[in-house]
């Protein structure tokens, strides 16, 4: 049984301009001990999907199954079990911690809500801080005394408090410097090999995802366009959008950068209030035909365990 199973999940927002289908029918599986990378550009819905799984935004339809239990219809009280299993770390190291709480208090919050006793909590906080490489006197200090990378570690310590099985990482390193990014990525990998925790790693940075993920899912305008193993996606991407994304992503190697074929993807992301009919990518797709403007392609297997949503694959 997979750890997380999404079936046709939908998230809609009502805005003054109309309905925005931020997540428009996403189905995905995440196995135990796996790191699934979720990539896409702004407005594709990847962050919204992460928040939907955490029940931070209302789910308009579909099933979110965590270890066999559909959590989509549950209310706040019924979700306590799920919260022990799934936790989240956020993008902004400066906003993800309460500036008026000490580090110790912030890290202990999940424990307080789960009803832990004071002595056990204190010991657990010490352990958590040690796991993420922070000194134990950190627990009396305030977030503003720490750097961005250290604050992310504090956020990770808080997420680990109840020993979750799955951590949703919403752009956890995008706001950090290059060298600090490496520290946090290495930490996440170490925690995975030591505790067997799974990650849903949401990011727009393809090279980071390529480094850390086992499988990758690509989103565009609220829908999945391709899912596959990491090496497979990088070596032979099937969907035209995946190809465009990989072609556009800078590579830190001048010789490789010059050698590769580059056709720059034209056009702009369509407004989510007014997505194109048929395939959402047809307005920018180099191989789009009439059929694409009418028929919406469905995500289907294309060999090697991969799936793609395109008429021509």
């Amino acid at each position: 049984m997979s750890l997380l199973s999404l079936r046709d999940v939908r998230v809609h927002f009502n805005t003054s301009g109309g309905v925005v289908r931020a997540v428009n029918g996403v189905s995905l599986d995440l196995a135990v001990g796996e790191t699934l990378g979720l990539v896409g550009e702004s407005g594709c819905g990847k962050s919204t999907l992460g928040k939907a799984i955490m029940k931070l935004v209302p789910v308009a339809g579909g099933e979110i199954v965590v270890e066999g239990v559909d959590i989509a219809p549950l209310n706040r009280e019924q979700l306590t079990n799920m919260r022990r299993k799934v936790q989240m770390i956020f993008q902004d190291p400066y906003g993800s911690l309460n500036p008026r709480s000490t580090v110790g208090r912030s890290v202990a919050q999940p424990l307080v809500l789960a009803g832990w006793k004071a002595a056990a909590m204190a010991e657990r906080v010490e352990t958590l801080l040690r796991w993420v490489g922070l000194p134990s006197d950190a627990k009396q200090r305030y977030p503003h005394e720490f750097s961005g990378g250290q604050r992310q570690r504090i956020g990770i310590a808080r997420a680990l408090a109840l020993s979750p099985k799955l951590i949703i990482c919403d752009e956890p390193v995008s706001a950090l410097d290059v060298s600090v990014r490496a520290q946090v990525i290495n930490l996440l990998e170490d925690l995975k090999s030591e505790f067997g925790v799974s990650y849903l790693f949401i990011s727009h940075d393809l090279s980071v995802v390529e480094h850390i993920a086992d499988r990758v899912a690509v989103m565009y305008l609220g829908m999945l366009v391709e899912v596959g193993g990491r090496d497979q996606i990088w070596k032979s991407p099937q969907h035209p959008y995946t190809r465009a994304l990989l072609a556009a992503a800078p590579i830190a190697n001048p010789k490789l950068a010059r050698a590769r074929q580059r056709t720059v993807l034209q056009g702009e992301l369509p407004s989510p209030l007014n997505p194109p009919a048929g395939c959402p990518f047809n307005s920018r797709c180099p191989i789009a035909e009439d059929r694409c403007r009418v028929d919406k392609p469905v995500l289907r297997p294309v060999g090697n365990g991969a799936q793609a949503a395109c008429h021509f694959v």
Binding site: D177, V178, N186, A248, L256
Partner: protein
Amino acid sequence: MTALPLPLPLPLEVRDLRTTLFTRRGEMKAVDGLSLSVAAGETVALVGESGCGKSLSALSIMRLLPDPPARIIGGEVRLNGRDIVPLPERAMLGIRGKEIGMIFQDPISSLNPVTTVEKQIVEVLMTHTELGRGQARVRAHELLELVGMPDAARRLDAYPHQLSGGMCQRVVIAMAIACSPSVLIADEPTTALDVTVQAQVLALLKKLQAEAGMAMIFITHDLGVVAETADRVVVMYAGRKVEEAPVDDLFESPLHPYTVGLIGATPTPGAERAARLADIPGMVPPLNALPQGCAFAPRCTRVMDRCRTEKPALTVPAPGRLVACFAAERG
């Protein structure tokens, strides 16, 4: 006998630039003796992490420093041979936008939110050229087409909030190159943009540069973008240049331990992928508490005793390369 033609001065030559921040918490040498030069048609990337001084260097070159707390306290900035550091602000107003253009990180906040795109481009043209309003409007349309704005005629009447980030950046670029400056400074111009839009903007900058022969300084922390766009790279740390090299040389054989660390910390897809990213232990020191000796010594894997007491000067290990490191000198 005809005289030999004098060599043309470089579009931009910075010599020993020093900028200090005067704050309540002490004086900070934000830029401590930076020298660099850019030839026509060349792109020099200025790389470093936050706090290294790269943005302040750019603002110093443009004389856009907020004073207080920042002030240029030494050095020269020669624009086409002329030192612009001692010039009064009135003279700088005629230079900025005309001989030297700049584009910033957040395109939407670079534009005036209450004026249309056309008015903003026209304003630049009328300030620095002899064009009348009618001619300027025609030129504004041409510029928007030049920067690849889709449906340019209609976008002229748009307000910035009606445009996407990528389109706004195109407008900013149009304004920056409107008067064909000899130097363009781009400070993280694509950091706030999506990957596919970033590729479009980088391709656009390359095309414009090739057509106009502009010298470009490209400031970024993203080594991938450096590899894609730069001819030469300058690496900065704690306000100083620590390495300079042609782009291929820098990635193939980085000399300074910080450069080695940065490249090792950047994930690269494909067969080159390392099992574990190199991480540089520690943090960038605060500018008002720099260590004695080499600023990178506390974090350096090749540190020697000498590094903790003496600051290394820039040496020339190979033609076209500079490095400030005692360990690198040793080889």
